[in-house]
Every structure is written in C-alpha cells, then in structure tokens.
C-alpha cells in the first residue's frame, strides 16, 4: 500500500521539468500527535507550474500549505514523518522566515492583511527580507499588477474591501520575490468578477516565472488555470492528474455536487484507498 503510493505515475511531460517542491510521504499531526491531519502525502510542484489542491473542508489542504511554509508549529502541529524538499534540499526544521528567504511565500487563508497598518506599510512588511533596491523593484511590479494598491497606499488595510484586501495579500507575498507562491483560497468570499480578476493575476504571476501551489474551492476556476491538480480527501491524496484529466473525471463531480455520473472518460491513476 505504502510502496504503491510512493510511486506515483507521472504524466510524461511533467517529468521533463525540474522539481521545485517535492513532498514525500508526509504525515502531520496536531495537538502533540493526538489529531492526525495528513497521512502519507506525496506531491510535487515543478518549476513554472500552477498546481491546484482540491478537496472538501477538513481534508487537510491548509495543513499541507502550513507544513510547506513552516507555520505548523504556531497551530500546535508537527511533521510526524516524511519530508519536504525544496530545490532538491530537505527543508527540515527551517523556520518560516528562513523559508521566505529561500523563496517560498504564502498568502494565508482569510487574507490576513495587517489591518492597522497602511497599505504601503503592509507591502513594506512584505518586503522585510528584501534589500532596499529589491524591495523598491518589487513594489513597482506589485503596483503595476494592482494599480488600486498604489491609489490607496495611505489607507489602513482594514478599510479596504474584501477584493482589495485579497489583492494586497497577494501583492504582499509578491514583495518577497518568491519562486514558489502558496495561495490559500484566494477567492474566498469574493464576487465572481473579482475571482476572475484574481485568477488572471495568478496566471500573470506564473508567467513571470513564479510557480504556484493553489488551494481553491471553486473547482472550475482552479482547473481552468492549473497545470496539475491533487484532490485531498480525509488527510490523503485521493486523486491526482493534469487539469484535463481532472476535468474529465466524474468522481470529482460526485465529490462536489453529489451527482453520480455514468462511467465515462478516462479513469485517473487513482490510489486504491476506498
């Protein structure tokens, strides 16, 4: 069973690109080991890819991003076994701030902008690890992507609308000049028009050479931009495949709408867990 899971079949074009992030057989637990949150997760993000993480609430998506960004400890969680490698080096016990310096940035669930700080100070905080000149350059890039942030730069971030706060959260993460951007539900509670806007920006960021690992509830939005997707269910990776494969998969629809589809399309390389 375990051996089977360790050898995930890769789609051929994926193997050619080099691995940026590689999660191997990762298990995570909270509260001193009493609550298991992830079990034997295998996941790769290759350079230049957008990878989507799908699955219902409580499946462990946010926990996985916390593990990659090193923020587990703040929530009483810890890696029990397995490893997370970034640029072929094991991250081990690297601190969250150390990971940011290595190029892994995260935009947390629920936006989490610094509500008391002005928009500009939020972005400054984002550029904390950067040199002055690099921060200035990143700032130019961010306000080009999100012109609204430049217009409202002296406003306290708490006074921005939900969509603007989300843009600020993503912009703040971009200030760190990431090579790998982790996005936890960037469309949470946003109107469809703004969701599309954010989606376009994710594509643009990706075009600038930044790989993206994305949690998204809206399967359509996620798969429309992702190269590859993983479906988490009850702490495990239940399916994975390219976006095209996923779109043709009926079990996904079952999961999200409760509509059992007739056996049509290709079956994915599914791990036999059920």
């Amino acid at each position: 069973m375990n051996a089977q899971r360790r050898h995930i079949r890769q789609s051929p074009d994926r193997l050619s690109a080099s691995k940026l992030l590689s999660v191997e057989n990762l298990s995570v637990a909270y509260s001193g080991g009493s609550i298991s949150a992830l079990e034997g997760i295998n996941l790769d993000v290759h350079e230049g890819e957008i990878v989507a993480l799908l699955g219902v609430n409580g499946a462990g998506k946010t926990t996985l991003l916390r593990a990659v960004s090193g923020l587990l400890g703040l929530h009483g969680g810890a890696v029990r076994s397995g490893s997370i490698s970034y640029q072929r080096k094991n991250l081990g016990d690297e601190s969250p701030w150390g990971r940011v310096r290595k190029g892994i940035s995260i935009s947390l669930e629920g936006r989490r902008v610094f509500t008391d700080l002005s928009v500009q100070d939020n972005l400054k905080a984002g550029g904390y690890t950067q040199s002055k000149s690099a921060a200035a350059k990143a700032y130019q890039n961010v306000v080009e992507l999100f012109p609204v942030l430049a217009r409202k730069r002296d406003l306290a971030a708490g006074l921005l609308s939900g969509g603007e706060q989300q843009m600020l959260a993503v912009g703040r993460a971009l200030m760190q000049g990431p090579k790998l951007l982790l996005l936890d539900e960037p469309s949470l509670g946003l109107a469809p028009l703004i969701v599309n806007q954010i989606r376009d920006i994710i594509v643009e960021i990706n075009g600038q050479g930044c790989s993206v690992l994305l949690i998204e509830q809206n399967v359509g939005t996620a798969l429309s931009i992702a190269d590859y997707a993983y479906v988490l269910d009850s702490r495990r990776v239940e399916h994975h495949g390219t976006a095209q494969e996923m779109l043709a998969d009926d079990t996904l629809r079952d999961l999200y709408l409760g509509i059992a589809a007739p056996a049509a399309g290709r079956k994915l390389n599914k791990e036999a867990v059920r």
Partner: protein
C-alpha cells in the same frame, strides 16, 4: 417551527447575510449549503445568539433575536461547532453533563451543603447521560478526557452533548468535516438514529455535497450571504447558480470551464 425572515447581518461594512428568508418544518432535516465564506456559520451564530442581526428569527413563535445565548439554549435550541465546542480537559461524561445543564437542579450553595434534592437530580442526570452514551456507543470512553480521543469520537461526543439538553431544534455546523468516508457513514447513521428516536428537527451546515444530497429533506444554498437556491436535493442539483458556485463561474470565454459545464449538465 423555525421561521427566518429578512435576516441581515453586517460586520463593519461587510454584509455577511443579505435578506435571508426560509422556514424549517417540524421533524425536517434541513441542510444549508454554500462555499466557504458564503455566510453559513454567520447564520448559525444568528440562530444561537452570538451576534445580533436585523430581521426576525422565530422558533415555535418566539423571537430569538435580542436574547442571550443561554436564554436561547433554554428555548430548546442546541448546536455544535465547526471546530469542536467541547471542553477539552473534561471527560466524555462530564461534557455530556454540561450539555444537560438545563435539566439539572442545584447551585453553588445547595451543592456545597449536600442538599439532598440536588444530588437526586445529579444522579438522575448521570443516569440519563449514561443512557445517551449507550445510544451513541460512547460508554467505553465514558471516563476518558476528551482531548485524548480521536477526532471522529469527539465529533460524536459533541453531538451527544448537544442532544443531552433535550433540544427540539439541533444545529449541526459541518459535522463530518475532516472525516473519511467510513467515519462519515457511521456518523450519518448516528444522526439519523438520534433524529428518529428523539423526534429532532435538524438544521445542518455541510460542505460534503454528496452526503447532504443523500440525507437532507430540503436544502438552502447560500452564496455571498444571499439565498441562491431553496428546495429538495433534486431541485438543487439542477440549480445553475449552485452549480456555478461549486464548479466554477459561468465564464463562457473559458473553454475548460465549458468542458466541465457540459459534463455536469449532460447528466
């Protein structure tokens, strides 16, 4: 028995619930569906008195808005929480006894001097709690401290705690989040059994659409704090706004989304 009219809730300019209307019949299993951030938990917080919305919520003809949470509990409304509303350092039995707080007599002074009627009521409550634990198959973890138990069992303890107050209306907030399929199945069996035996009316927030479609009598779908659908599972499955909320915005320009939509509609 539950009647919600033009319910509106704002947090500092952000509208969490926008003119929500619905009613739940006695004995119904009523589900509330919607993506994260749609306002489902806000709705529950209105129902249990944790926030003060505008509009009207009536339970058996009594207004809920403006009452304190413990007064609302006294009206026969019990609820569970998304992230477990258990008392971690207490045992399973003690948690259930806290749940049956309203059924027990006695205060600080009468307890301190061992007033007999207090301890009679206490013994009765312990007997009832044991019976409830037996029904929920919890007797074997009766004296275990809740924090040490696995997640699935804790979820069950929370339901038992809520039911211990002998409510007429039970609100369940994402009860199967984080459970695997086997655990979910078991859990649903427990809930349905309880509903049957105690004659409960249940309102359920759930993200697991498949499960909801299977067990709910009627479904209310929310998005951005607005009602986007209300009806039987079959009706909701056909509702395009609901499909869009879960499977993607109806963005015609996007070929991949179209592909998916075709798949979903061709059912």
């Amino acid at each position: 028995m539950l009647n919600v009219e033009s319910l509106r809730l704002e947090f500092g300019g952000v509208v969490a619930l926008k003119d929500v209307d619905f009613s739940v019949e006695m004995g119904e299993l009523f589900a509330i569906l919607g993506p994260n951030g749609a306002g489902k938990t806000s709705l529950f917080n209105c129902l249990s008195g944790l926030v003060k919305p505008k509009g009207s919520i009536q339970v058996n003809g009594n207004e809920v808005i403006g009452k304190k949470p413990h007064e609302i509990a006294d009206m026969g409304i019990a609820r569970t929480f998304q992230n477990l509303g258990l008392f971690g350092s207490m045992t399973v039995a003690e948690n259930i006894l806290v749940g049956s707080h309203l059924q027990i007599q006695g205060g600080a002074f009468t307890a301190a001097i061992r007033w007999p009627s207090v301890f009679r009521s206490e013994r009765q409550a312990r007997r009832n709690a044991d019976e409830l634990m037996e029904l929920m198959n919890l007797l074997e973890v009766r004296d275990s401290v809740v924090d040490t138990l696995p997640y699935g069992i804790r979820k069950r303890v929370e339901i038992a705690k809520a039911v211990a107050s002998k409510p007429s209306l039970l609100l369940l907030d994402e009860p199967v989040a984080g459970m695997n399929h086997e655990e979910t199945e078991t859990f649903v069996e427990y809930v349905l059994e309880l509903k049957k035996q105690l004659g409960l009316t249940i309102v359920l927030i759930e993200h697991d659409v498949a499960m909801v479609m299977r067990i709910a009598d009627r479904i209310l779908a929310l998005d951005f704090g607005e009602v986007i659908g209300l009806g039987t599972p079959a009706e909701i499955q056909q509702n395009e706004r609901v499909i869009a909320a879960y499977l993607g915005a109806t963005d015609e320009s996007d070929a991949q989304t179209e592909l998916l939509m075709e798949g979903a509609i061709s059912e």
